[in-house]
Symmetry: C2
Subunit: 450 residues, 2 copies
């Protein structure tokens, strides 16, 4: 039996071809008690009228208007939760200075648990209200704020992957904000895993703990190896930064005489549950390492402009068979909205394609065949992210989790094709246009009195 | 005497140094009956309490909250009004195809005057509600829709510069959408000038007619010359496109064996009232032509990504003493918001600075010293645009027009500096955050029951 039926038109990636989008009009999305999509009926299906009437009789039918569309909830693969207070500020500093002068002091200040609670309450609410239904997050080095973050996600209904941040390298981490030694780092990581086990026992929407070495500069090689073992032993996902900037990339090369990809591989930190943020400076000679390990890249197009020192060649990676999803990188990126990052993913790919310097002749200015379409960007934020997380979400189809957003066209008009509507939705949706959000069938944002 | 007093904190460009922003807290902005800022008082000025009390007694005082800020109204130097119905769609086509398959048919369809009225009503409302108080627009070849546009601007209180679009070259313009010959083009242009003269006689907010040859491909050389004469004789502003894309730029070179800048100059179309959209492919050897003529560039950073084939080197132009403002280029750009274009102006400048192709070594990847700050972007959308139009607006200071927007912080927080607040305002403001807009002292958008 169903728990909820939504009648409306939806967009979802064509599972056989991520360059295509299916648009289904006036469907009935039937959601079961576990929060999964049980079936989807179209107007000419024989049960359509019956199910609609049954849902109506039980007051379990939501009927949308013509200017409202259903999209899969978005999946944000890269967030620094404790950086939320500084979102959209100080972005004119280079990465190393931004970290040491702004970011590390801010993250350390979350030992003030009131600050943590207020911040995380606002962050989780904001993510949901932008249509993000699954979020992969870095917490802080300190564990208490991480527990508060996990509780907030449960309370507001955001599916979250959260990691206690590991920073144990005294040479590169400030004394006020680091793990005292490897065993502190590992014990705290284990403690957070146990905490989430307990938290999850009572709730339908789960928190997944994530093994989280911040990046190569912040960790000792020995610590990376212990974290790699811990991830394997517990079959846990891993998140870290990869080849983010000239500086970060050069650090690994000059300190260890090898790229960070190789260091992570040696520490057993690259597998099919690994999420690598940025990868902007990753050499194409190393693409196959990630491909062979089935590790995923979290493309953060806005943040990369400030800290990446180049555009991630998404099209080349997709063509190579690499797995890519999308991230906001709060607060390296100034926007909590994956819509804004979808837009920038398309725009940055076009700048890579066409080139930026008009003093170079057109034929040599850019990198041909680098452009991605809006459909491909949509894939990154939905099915691409879900694939990275091995989750049945990111698509609207039977058997998948009912993670959905209801969006109203920002500017109404009679457009020519379904693709035009999707393009307009992605280019123009602001927070206020996202009228309802469901996570696992639960209504978690409701601006239209559903 | 005053007509209105607004008590609040505001940001405005430092008129002596456009890289700096002044932040004045808890000021009284005193607006006279003509819609000009008469004076600005700060809390320690001796008349502060007196004026505040007088305004209060007459019910002419508006007092803002701590999370509300006043900014100058923005100036959009480049809009195609008749492209509004296709905003945010079909952006994956190259310029020439986009024009012939989408844009020209749409503009031609405005001979349906109901479509024109509904579209322009929505467009003008939208621009105002995004904080744009002065707009420079291309209308259509046909004149009746242009008159409807002018009336809508007057009715809703948007200060507008509007041009009847001239397209008389039968080789490049479709038969269904062009001026029959030069004399039709000129007569229709004159007719629109007369129409606005009459319209302006009754209204405080004025419509300025603009001489508007679409671009070099669409006009015959003879027609350009007659338009140049008409502009001089009537002392009218001029708007056109300049070196927008590889295609447009190459058209002038291959057809006339000279860049479009030289053709416009020969036709007497470059002067201190000329607005040139894009200029993305303008060679730096021609910068001094524009500088000597005091002509302005309308930088359209979002649109340029789709159609410009390079990033406009804004920093180099500013350093060279060229005059630059900002435009949305609706609908080449997908957003009606100058906030979004401010963001992209900063981001595109950083991509030009750092370069985009990670296969080139960091030292050779970008064009050093190309980065603009948020303050410089803010200048483009305010004082820069005002300078291009020779208008006393774009700054909050006595003697200037009271074109103002009241904006609420999208994400509230205690930030470290005034600059942090401005950065967050520019990076995060969405339509819903712009709570009130004044044009020439008239309240034209009011979401907070002022």
């Amino acid at each position: 039996m169903f728990n909820l039926v939504i009648q409306g038109s939806y967009f979802t990636i064509n599972p056989n071809d991520y360059q295509k989008i299916n648009f289904i009009q006036n469907a009935l999305i039937v959601i079961d008690h576990s929060g999964k999509i049980d079936r989807i009926l179209q107007p000419n299906d024989k049960d359509y009228s019956l199910i609609k009437q049954q849902a109506k009789n039980k007051d379990l039918l939501i009927t949308l208007n013509n200017d409202q569309f259903i999209l899969p909830g978005f999946i944000d693969l890269h967030i620094h939760a404790a950086q939320w207070p500084q979102i959209g500020t100080a972005l004119d500093r280079p990465l190393q200075q931004w970290l040491n002068d702004y970011t590390f002091p801010l993250e350390a200040s979350f030992s003030d648990l009131d600050l943590a609670k207020n911040t995380y309450q606002d962050l989780v609410h904001t993510l949901l209200s932008y249509g993000t239904t699954t979020a992969v997050m870095f917490g802080t080095v300190n564990n208490e704020p991480n527990q508060i973050l996990a509780k907030q996600c449960i309370q507001q209904g955001l599916r979250a992957f959260i990691g206690k941040v590991v920073m144990d390298n005294p040479d590169q981490c400030p004394q006020y904000y680091r793990d005292e030694n490897i065993s502190t780092a590992i014990n705290q990581t284990k403690q957070f895993i146990e905490f989430t086990d307990e938290l999850n026992s009572n709730n339908a929407i789960k928190i997944t703990p994530v093994i989280t070495p911040r990046f190569i500069p912040s960790c000792t090689i020995e610590c990376l190896k212990v974290l790699g073992d811990l991830a394997s032993k517990n079959n846990l996902p891993i998140q870290t930064h990869l080849s983010e900037s000239n500086w970060e990339n050069d650090y690994a090369l000059s300190t260890y005489n090898q790229p960070d990809t190789h260091i992570l591989q040696a520490a057993n930190l690259l597998n099919d549950r690994t999420i690598l943020a940025h990868a902007t400076q990753l050499k194409s000679s190393d693409y196959n390492i990630l491909k062979d390990k089935h590790s995923s890249i979290a493309h953060c197009p806005i943040s990369n402009i400030y800290f990446g020192n180049a555009v991630l060649p998404v099209k080349k990676l997709l063509n190579n068979g690499n797995q890519v999803g999308l991230g906001t990188d709060i607060s390296g990126g100034y926007s909590p909205s994956l819509y804004r990052n979808l837009q920038q993913a398309v725009m940055s790919s076009r700048l890579l394609n066409d080139g930026v310097n008009n003093e170079i002749c057109a034929a040599k200015r850019g990198v041909p065949n680098s452009q991605i379409t809006m459909n491909e960007a949509f894939y990154l934020a939905t099915a691409g992210g879900a694939k990275a997380l091995k989750l049945p979400t990111g698509q609207i189809k039977p058997g998948y989790l009912a993670d959905l957003q209801v969006v109203k066209l920002h500017t109404s008009a009679m457009l020519k094709s379904a693709n035009d509507y999707l393009e307009r939705l992605i280019y123009q949706t602001e927070q206020n246009d996202i009228q309802a959000v469901f996570v696992q069938g639960q209504l978690v944002v409701n601006k239209i009195n559903l």
